[in-house]
């Protein structure tokens, strides 16, 4: 097999050459470059020489630990309580700033906390923004991948019929994919505005019961709003892939199942779904990877805010690398993202392997 690949395959290599060389130049080389840069202190703009700093960038990003805080007590040892009866805790900054007794927490910030008895367990991290980005990115993937996948399949099934004018629907569903994501994001920003279309519709439908809310301005709804918009925007693309998969299933199989008296569900379960196996794997992996690359919507709609509720790994990589001129920090995030996506893709491949 290997010998066949290298020898007597000149035509094959000639055809592959342009694609392979471009991929190498723009994907493979930059990746190794990013990996190398993430071990240095490379700046975007600097007269200072670049130095090798080992894993410092990764340590700054990933350092995280648990700080246990006991409630404040008065002289008699009684726990101080606020008006609601909850114990009062000293501020985290008293431990993390200029406190020689807690050197290991220096420069860290609170990410979140929970209570075990009266003790507050505070998760502190050097780079809370990074951890928020990681959380948001994963949340986005977990929500978008399955919903977009299922919706796209549903749409593909709907438009895979011989009806007059079905092409109009195909075009309509596919249209958001053709429009630039930046334009789509800008438009949805208006839809989501406090006095925007969405609030007006919801208000009209509920006869004025629904009070308008600031979808992108509230940490509770901002990420969800972007997820909904992203699902809508790209669903048409995956619909087309599903559709191409549907059309590779031989019509004879459907004829057979009709003759055998299969119900619609049985036809789907035993004819359509097995026939879509490879398509399903492709769509799942593509959606997952695209979801991890979430950037444009964030950049246009929220800039990562409010309160880091929509910041993502790619957004942070760009923000640090260019806006904050920290190429090495941005590269470190890219490498972490790469490893994350690689791991998840490998797991998906393993789970969907031919048994």
């Amino acid at each position: 097999m290997a010998s066949k690949l290298v020898t007597s395959n000149r035509a094959g290599w000639t055809f592959a050459f342009p694609g392979v060389s471009l991929l190498t130049l723009f994907i493979v080389v930059p990746f190794f470059f990013a990996f190398f840069l993430s071990l240095t202190n490379q700046r975007l703009i600097s007269p200072n020489p670049t130095e090798f700093v080992g894993l410092d960038n990764y340590r700054d990003l990933l350092s995280i630990s648990v700080l246990s805080i006991e409630p404040e007590v008065d002289d008699a040892g009684v726990v101080l309580r606020d008006a609601d009866g909850n114990p009062k805790y000293p501020r985290v900054r008293t431990f993390t700033r200029n406190n020689p007794d807690y050197k290991q927490y220096a420069g860290m910030r609170e990410w979140f906390r929970w209570h075990s008895g009266e003790t507050a367990k505070v998760i502190v991290a050097t780079d809370v923004v990074f951890w928020n980005s990681l959380r948001n990115t994963l949340m986005f993937v977990v929500v978008v991948a399955p919903i977009q996948d299922a919706l796209a399949l549903g749409l593909a099934l709907l438009i895979n019929q011989r009806l007059r004018g079905i092409n109009v629907y195909r075009a309509i569903y596919f249209m958001p994919v053709v429009v630039s994501i930046v334009v789509v994001s800008l438009l949805w920003r208006f839809l989501y505005a406090e006095d925007g279309l969405l609030n007006s519709i919801l208000g009209a439908l509920s006869f004025g019961l629904f009070e308008g809310r600031d979808w992108l301005g509230s940490p509770d709804t901002a990420l969800g709003a972007i997820e909904a918009m992203s699902i809508w925007q790209a669903v048409g693309f995956h619909m087309v892939i599903w559709l191409s998969g549907l059309q590779t299933i031989p019509p004879t199989l459907y004829e057979v199942s009709r003759i055998e008296g299969a119900s619609k569900w049985q036809t789907f379960r035993y004819v359509t779904w097995p026939g879509l196996r490879n398509t399903a794997i492709l769509v799942l992996i593509v959606i997952t990877m695209q979801a991890f690359a979430l950037f444009a919507q964030i950049d246009v709609m929220t800039n990562g805010g409010p309160l880091d509720s929509t910041t993502t790994l790619v957004f942070q990589a760009v923000e640090r690398g260019y806006a904050k001129q920290d190429i090495s920090g941005g590269s470190a995030i890219s490498v972490i993202l790469f490893l994350l996506v690689l791991t998840i893709s490998l797991v998906q491949r393993y789970l969907t392997r031919e048994k």
Binding site: I45, S46, G107, D214, L216, G217, P306, L307, Q325, D326
Partner: protein
């Protein structure tokens, strides 16, 4: 084959023809105002006037959209392909000078003796950039609003105190004249935040970095004064005085004109449009004084010379040429900017003695404080922007400012103190 020879021949002929016609040395120049017709016409006028009068040099201008201009410069610098003359935003200049993108100017310093302080860019004791204009910010208000709310008109010598300002906002909020009392302009993300809002912090007594050493932000951005500023800043949004970070950009542009906002914190560049829109009792009030005086930002786009330019002499000649009062006045009349000199201001229709925007010239010369003159400002500005957005959205003030200080200090360390 035939086609190739023809093309090659045509190329040889055309280039030799061009080099025969032009005996001047070519200079390249990049400018940030691409896409703005009026601005392009103005800068083109200067370039063609220069080329017509100067026998030795010929400037070729290339304009970029403002949004991608800085990226283009950085990319060109990394590729070793900078033009001779560049323009640079005032607060960014130290960064580029420190990174050896720029060389000091060698223009006759008497030319700029009367220039507004915000228009002159110095780093490490050397002159690197000069601007034809400055920009300033003031509190937009209507006389009728002040009358209806029974407020005194603050003046340059006697601005509102912080308490008076908040009393004014309270009065505006209690009335139903407008939807929001105050519009700080949260929709304008980016450099607007440090440019427009750090003066409030400075008026409280804090700053983005400690300007005595330029080595730390500790104490300046998270000291007691800064915490006080942060609490006040948060109260603007928590108290419902001002629209938050999700403000619609179009409301930012027309909200004051439409009467949606009683007071608006806005720059002189919006003044002409506001007057033209029919707000005939428009006032430009000075910034409130929160204890350490009224402060506004300064420093706009300025001209400089790239470090790699081989024709610095010609580039200096061009900049000297551009600094004539008539061009300063032309830019001011064209796009509403504050001309750099009093003499040029007198030639303009807006900033002359009795012009409608004359007050801005006084604001700029008396209250303006440039943003921290440091190569690290570029990063600190981003950190400051995020901190202010977070505080406006309800983040804990002390924690947010601490985190901002840590990030700025880490950046200082990683850059070996930025040469301070």
């Amino acid at each position: 084959m035939n086609l190739k020879t023809t093309l090659a021949g045509a190329l040889v002929v055309s280039t030799s023809w061009a080099s025969m016609a032009v005996a001047q040395t070519d200079l390249t120049m990049w400018y940030h105002g691409g896409g703005n017709e009026v601005e392009s016409a103005l800068i083109n006028q200067i370039v063609s006037d220069f080329n017509a009068t100067n026998a030795d040099y010929n400037v070729n201008l290339e304009s970029f959209p403002q949004g991608s201009y800085n990226d283009s410069i950085v990319a060109a610098a990394l590729a070793g392909d900078l033009p001779d003359i560049i323009d640079v935003d005032g607060p960014v200049m130290p960064n580029w000078a420190w990174a050896n993108y720029m060389q000091p100017l060698s223009i006759d310093e008497t030319i700029i003796a009367d220039f507004l302080p915000g228009t002159i860019g110095r780093w490490n004791g050397e002159l690197y950039s000069v601007g034809l204009w400055d920009a300033a910010v003031s509190l937009y208000a209507r006389q009728s609003t002040l009358d209806a709310l029974g407020l005194r008109t603050p003046t340059l010598d006697n601005p509102w105190t912080g308490d008076e300002f908040m009393a004014a906002l309270d009065a505006a909020k209690a009335s139903d004249i407008c939807e929001y009392a105050f519009d700080p302009g949260m929709a304008w993300t980016g450099e607007w935040y440090p440019y427009a809002f750090s003066p409030f912090l400075q008026s409280f007594g804090g700053d983005i970095v400690d300007r005595s050493t330029y080595k730390t932000a500790e104490g300046a951005l998270n000291g007691d004064e800064a915490l006080e500023f942060g609490a006040w800043w948060q109260s603007l949004f928590a108290g419902g005085y001002a629209p938050g970070t999700s403000q619609d950009p179009s409301d930012r542009d027309t909200g004051f004109i439409d009467g949606k906002y009683c007071f608006s914190w806005n720059g002189n560049w919006a003044a002409v449009a506001t007057l033209d829109a029919g707000v005939d009792d428009l006032l430009f009030l000075p910034a409130p004084d929160f204890g350490k005086g009224s402060v506004i930002g300064a420093g706009s786009w300025q001209f400089g010379i790239s470090a790699t330019s081989e024709h610095a002499e010609g580039a200096n000649a061009f900049i000297e040429f551009a600094l004539q009062d008539k061009y300063l006045a032309a830019f001011s009349d064209g796009i509403g900017l504050i001309p750099s000199t009093m003499a040029a201001a007198a030639m303009t229709k807006n900033y002359a003695e009795n012009g409608p925007l004359n007050v801005y010239f006084a604001l700029s010369s008396e209250q303006a404080l440039v943003r921290p003159v440091s190569p690290g400002y570029v990063v600190a500005a981003k950190v400051f922007e995020k901190a202010l957005a977070d505080i406006a959205n309800g983040a804990d003030v002390a924690d947010t400012l601490d985190a901002a200080v840590d990030e700025i200090n880490t950046d200082f360390e990683r850059n070996g103190g930025y040469g301070h």
